[in-house]
Symmetry: C3
Subunit: 380 residues, 3 copies
C-alpha cells in the first residue's frame, strides 16, 4: 500500500471530490516480513496468563508464557533447548519450568538450572530464548526483536485501559487473516453499515464526513457530528436530554493498535475535536498481533468513563461487543481466503480507505527503516 | 497421453490382436493448464442458480452466479474489486449485487454503480470481471477465456436434454480428481463390471467388441449387441417381448462432455449403428468441469424418450443413477490420491483405454492450438 | 547427529564429568532420505495381514499386503499398473488380486494374469512392483530397496519374539513423527521419569549410571543395578524374596529396532551384564518403520520368559504397555510439530543422548555407504 502520495503531517486529507483512482496494492505474502520486529505486541490479556503455561505464537515465534510466584510474567521460546519439546507441555516448579520429556529445568531467564541427569553439573550455556515482557494497560506485552531496544516507554499509550475513573474489559479472538486486514477494517467504520447490519450498523454514519490526518507515526480518522440527537446507547450513558455533539476518532498506533475514541457531549458543553472530555466517552481498544503471515491474535475491548462500577453493564457490553467482532472475524477470514484464491488480484484503495492505507505505509516505512543494519531501532 | 499413433478420422481403431504395449503417459499436474480456456463449460444446473448468489470455482477462477429479475444469469469474479471480499457473501439488490464489506454496488456487468461512500461520484472504471454465460440444455454454461470468442454456437450439442419428446433430469457431485480421470472413466464402460459390481455391472458387456473412432474433435466408442434378449430395464422401457438390438455409444465432445447413447430396438425394426431411433433410447449425460488441477464438478443425468411423463420414474432413476455415480466418485478420488502418492508412476493405456486416450489427445492438441497467439480460437 | 566424535568399538562411553557441550544437530527433512533402503523393515504384525488386502506405506512407498492360500504374504506396490487405482481396493481371487477399476488381474508376483478385456492375450510385461517379504519373529518384514540384496539372514535377530519358553505380544501405533525421534526416545530411558510420570516413571532410575557402547552397527546403553530390592512388578515375576541384581539394556539394531533387555536375578545367582539368564527376563521390542519423513509405524511389544502360559497376564500387560506408549506417541508428535514450527532450532545432544546419537550416526553412515553405486549392499 505504498502507492498513495504521502500526506503532509497533521493536514486533513482524503477529501477530493470523487473517488480516488483505483490504487493497486500489494498485499501478497512476500519473502519479507509484513510486521515490525522491534516493537511491543500484545501477547495476552493479563487474566490469560497464570502459573500454568500458555502457548501462543507471536510474530511467527512459538512462545510460552507463565507467571512467577511474584506474578511477574515469563516469556520463553516454546521449545526445550534439549530436544525441542514444547515447554508449554512442561511442569512448573517455583519460578522455573521443567521439560516434560527429559526433565531439563530452566529458570525464568531461560537458563538451565538442572540437567536431565540429576547431579550432572549444569551447563549454563544451555538456555531457551527469553523474551522481554512488560505488563501494562491490562495486557502482557512482548518484544520479539532486539531485546536491547525493548524500552517500556515505547509501549503504545492505551491510557484509558488503566486510568483512574475508567472501566475496561474485553476479549480475545484468533483470526485467520493477515493482521493488516484487521487494521484496514478498523480504520474505516464505513463497514459497520454492511458487516454489522444486524447489530450496530447505522446508515447515517455514512452521511457524516471524515477527516484523515497523519502525525508522525499516528494516523487519525475523525468524524464529528455536531448538534445531533444522541442515539439510545449514548443517551443512556449521558443520562440527560438535549442535542449533543458526537465523535468517532480512529487512531492507528504502531505497530498494530487501533483505538477508537467515541462519545457524546451536550452541545452546551462546547466540546471540540481537540478537547471533548465534557460528556461521556469510551475507547474501543483493538490490538492485532501477527501470528503468521495469514493469521493474527485479536485483542479487543472497551474502556469507558461512565457507569464504571456497573459490573452488569461491563458484562453485557463485552458480550455485545464480542458478537459484533465475530462478524468482523468472519469477514476478515473470508477476505483472506479470497486473497489466496485470487492471486492475480490486488486490494484497491478508495477514499474511505485512506486511514488504512496510511497505516500500512507507516508500517512499511518502519519495517524498511529497521531492516538493513539490524537493531537500528524503532523511532518513537 | 500423446504416445498412441493418430487414428485416421472416422476409421475403426483399437482392435489389434493383443493388448497394446504398456504406454507411459504423463498425467502429472504440470505448469501448463490441463484444460482448454476458450471453451464453454457447464457451471451449474439451471435449478442451482437463483436470486441468491452461488459461489463456484470454474477452471481455477472463483465465480459467483445469480439470476436477474428477468431470470438471466450473471457470472462475476467472486471477489469485490475493492477489498476482494467474495461477492457471494453480498446482498442482492435488483439486478445488482452489493458487497457485504463496504457496500460497493456492482451491476450485472460487474461495473460499479454505487461507491461505498454514498454520494461519491461513481468511478466506472471499477468493475468485477464478468463472464459470458449462456443457458442451454438445462445447464448454465460459462466461457472462461477470451470473451470475444464466446460464440453460443460452440456450446456442445446436448440436444436430448432439451428436445421435445424427451425427459431429462440429473444431479451434481464435486469430485476431488483431475477432470480427465472422469473422461477416461466414461469413455470405457469396461469399468462397470467391477466398479458397479453391486449395481449395474454386467459381465456380458465385456464379451461384446467395441469400436473406437475419431472424427474431427469427437471420439466415439461403440458397442453394438445384435439380436440379444433385452435386459429387464430395457424390456420394461420397450414394453414388448422378443429379441432386440442393443447399443452403447460413448461420445466425447470438447471441452469435457461425454454423452452415452444407450437403448434397444426390436430386431425387426432394423436399427443400425448409424440409425437407431426405432426403439427406446436414452442419453447418459456427463459433463466434467475443471475446478482445479485435481478436482472437478461432475454434472450427470439421463435424457430418455420413453415414459417421459412418468415423474416417479424420473425420480427413481435419478436416485439410482446418483448411487452409481457415487461409486465412480469414490474410485476417481482414490485414483487421484494414488497418482499423488506414486509420483514416479504413470498411467498406462491398454486397448480399452483408446477412447479416453483419443479424448486426451484432442484436449491436448486444442490447448496447444490456443496457446501461443492468445485468442487464436477454438475450432468447431 | 554426526558431530560427536566416534566411540571406540565396544568401549564404554559417555561418562565425562559434566554435560557434553551443546551439540547442534541437523534433524531437518532434507532432500536425502533419512532412512536406509536396502534393509528389512517391519511392515506389520503377523495377525494384521490376512486374505483381505492391507494398505500401508513403507519408506514412502504405498504397498498392499495380503496372504495367499498357503498363508505366505504378498507385498505389491499399492497401485494398479493400468490406471493406478490402489490395489488394496481390489478383489482377492485365489492367490491373485483383481483391480476394482477395470479388472486387471495380477498374480502374487505382481505380473498380469488377465487383461481387463476378457480373452485378450495377456501382456506379461505388465506388472505391479513386488517386494520381498519374509515372516519372522511374529512380524511381516519387507525389503524396500534392491531386491537382489534381500537376504533373510539380515533380518534383525529378535529371537525372544519367537523362541521356545518365551511369550510375546504387543501392538501397533501410527506416529506422526520422524522415526529417528522414536529411536532417540527409546535409547534414553531417562524420559520415563517425566513422560511416564503417571505410569512407570521411577526417579531412582536416574540415580543409576549408564554405559554406552558401540559394536559394529549395534549401540548398547546399559544400566546395572546391583543388590537392590526388586520393585513390585519384578518381585511378582521372580516369585521369591531377597535382594536382586536388576538390569536395563537398550540395544539399537539397524535399520530401526530398539530392544530393551530388562529383568532381575537373585544376587546369589551371580548374574552379570554379560550373562544374566538366571532370573526373570523380558525384552521390550520396538520397531520404528518410516512411513514418510515425518511419520512412522511403531510396532511395540514385550517378550518374557516367566508366566508364559498366563494369557491374562499377557493381555493385562499389553494393555498397560499400550497406555505407556501412547504417552510417548503424544510426546513424539508434539516434538515433531515443534521441529516444524522452529526451523531455526536444532536438536541438542547431552550425555544422556549418547545412545540415540550413536544410533543416528550408524544410520547416517549406512545410508552414505549404500548411496553412490546403487546396490552396494548393507554390511551385516
Amino acid at each position: 500500500m505504498s502507492e498513495a502520495p504521502p500526506v503532509a503531517s497533521g493536514a486533513p486529507a482524503g477529501r477530493p471530490a470523487g473517488a480516488s483512482p483505483r490504487i493497486r496494492t500489494r498485499s501478497r505474502v512476500s519473502a519479507e516480513r509484513s510486521w515490525l520486529s522491534n516493537a511491543w505486541y500484545v501477547a495476552a490479556w493479563d487474566f490469560e496468563v497464570d502459573q500454568a503455561p500458555l502457548a501462543r505464537t507471536i510474530c511467527g515465534v512459538p512462545m510460552v508464557f507463565y507467571r512467577k510466584l511474584d506474578r511477574g510474567v515469563v516469556a520463553l521460546r516454546d521449545a526445550c533447548p534439549h530436544r525441542l519439546l514444547p515447554l508449554s507441555l512442561g511442569l512448573r516448579e517455583g519460578d522455573s519450568i521443567r521439560c516434560k520429556y527429559h526433565g531439563l529445568k530452566l529458570g525464568p531467564d531461560g537458563k538451565a538450572q538442572e540437567m536431565p541427569t540429576r547431579g550432572d553439573p549444569v551447563n549454563r550455556a544451555i538456555c531457551a530464548e527469553a523474551f522481554v515482557v512488560y505488563e501494562r494497560h491490562r495486557f502482557v506485552w512482548v518484544w520479539v526483536g532486539d531485546a536491547s531496544l525493548a524500552d517500556p516507554a515505547l509501549i503504545p499509550d492505551l491510557w484509558p485501559c488503566s486510568a483512574q475513573g475508567w472501566a475496561f474489559d474485553g476479549g480475545y479472538y484468533p483470526v485467520a487473516a493477515d493482521y493488516r486486514l484487521g487494521i484496514d477494517n478498523l480504520m474505516d467504520l464505513t463497514h459497520e453499515t454492511y458487516v454489522h447490519m444486524g447489530s450496530i450498523g447505522q446508515p447515517e454514519i455514512l452521511e457524516s464526513p471524515i477527516e484523515t490526518s497523519v502525525e508522525g507515526q499516528k494516523v487519525t480518522v475523525s468524524r464529528w457530528m455536531a448538534g445531533i440527537d444522541a442515539p439510545p446507547f449514548w443517551r443512556g450513558a449521558l443520562k440527560q436530554e438535549g442535542p449533543v455533539d458526537r465523535w468517532q476518532i480512529c487512531e492507528f498506533i504502531l505497530p498494530s493498535a487501533v483505538i477508537i475514541d467515541v462519545g457524546v457531549a451536550p452541545v452546551a458543553a462546547g466540546a471540540s475535536l481537540e478537547s471533548h472530555d465534557q460528556g461521556v466517552r469510551g475507547f474501543v481498544i483493538d490490538f492485532m498481533t501477527p501470528e503468521s503471515a495469514t493469521s493474527h491474535h485479536y485483542f479487543w475491548g472497551m474502556a469507558r468513563n461512565f457507569d464504571i462500577d456497573d459490573a452488569g453493564f461491563t458484562a453485557r457490553f463485552k458480550r455485545q461487543q464480542g458478537g459484533v467482532f465475530l462478524e468482523d472475524k468472519a469477514i476478515l477470514e473470508a477476505q483472506q481466503r479470497s486473497l489466496d484464491a485470487n492471486p492475480e488480484l490486488r486490494l484497491s484503495a478508495y477514499r474511505i480507505d485512506e486511514g488504512g492505507t496510511r497505516a500500512r505505509q507507516i508500517i512499511a516505512r518502519a519495517i524498511k527503516a529497521q531492516a538493513p543494519p539490524a537493531g537500528t531501532g524503532d523511532p518513537a
